[in-house]
Symmetry: C2
Subunit: 130 residues, 2 copies
């Protein structure tokens, strides 16, 4: 039996790139990932899954498109927990930078259904091994 | 659309009981819960699910029974992440106390398949609403 644990802070210290999530652990079909963010991501949704955000450090704004049209946003600070429901267009943004833990099924692409060209400051990935 | 977030620290400040997990959020069929622990839990397993522990504060030892017999343990400190595989008998213990985040399917009983009398210092629950 493995008795190997991983550490969030060690993982975060092992890379510098923004919007490039690292895989930490798998529990059943779910993956735990951590990501450093700064600036804006791209608008996207995950048609088949909710996505949970936990802010570890810094602040994160998640812009959300209402089904009826129009936009709203949620402002998250340290240790705030927020779930974006499946199928909801959202765009995370962090002017000042943040470290965030993500929970969603393993194999979920961070850019979801985004069909445009992926900007240089973003890595489109299901999670890079630490 | 809800833009309500929850906060880990606010949740932890809202109760004192040890071994009495609080429900924070649900993502698909998974629940995120936080628990304060001190002393020993009971030996148990979850036959149908892995269980993920993230230490938020303090230290946690998870004792594990090997399939071949014998015991081992993993010592977890702040921000350590560890997964107990499904079906593995384990007993969390924290001599000095800890705050821990738990990830497992909603409806999972914290005492798992434990069939004995639940000691007074433990609440057997699938997660109490904050």
């Amino acid at each position: 039996m493995t008795t190997v644990s991983t550490n969030i802070d060690t993982a975060l210290a092992s890379f510098e790139e923004h919007w490039s999530p690292r895989f930490l652990a798998q529990v059943n079909d779910f993956a735990v990932r951590v990501v450093k963010v700064e600036g804006s991501f791209v608008w996207h949704s995950h048609p088949d899954t909710d996505e949970l955000f936990i802010v570890l450090d810094g602040t994160l704004d998640i812009h959300l498109r209402e089904e009826a049209g129009g936009e709203t946003a949620v402002h998250l600070e340290r240790h705030d927990v927020f779930v974006v429901p499946r199928g909801t267009q959202h765009c995370p943004e962090s002017p000042g930078g943040a470290s965030v833990m993500l929970l969603e099924p393993a194999g979920t692409l961070n850019t979801g259904d985004y069909a445009g060209e992926v900007p240089d400051h973003i890595t489109s990935t299901t999670g890079i091994q630490v």
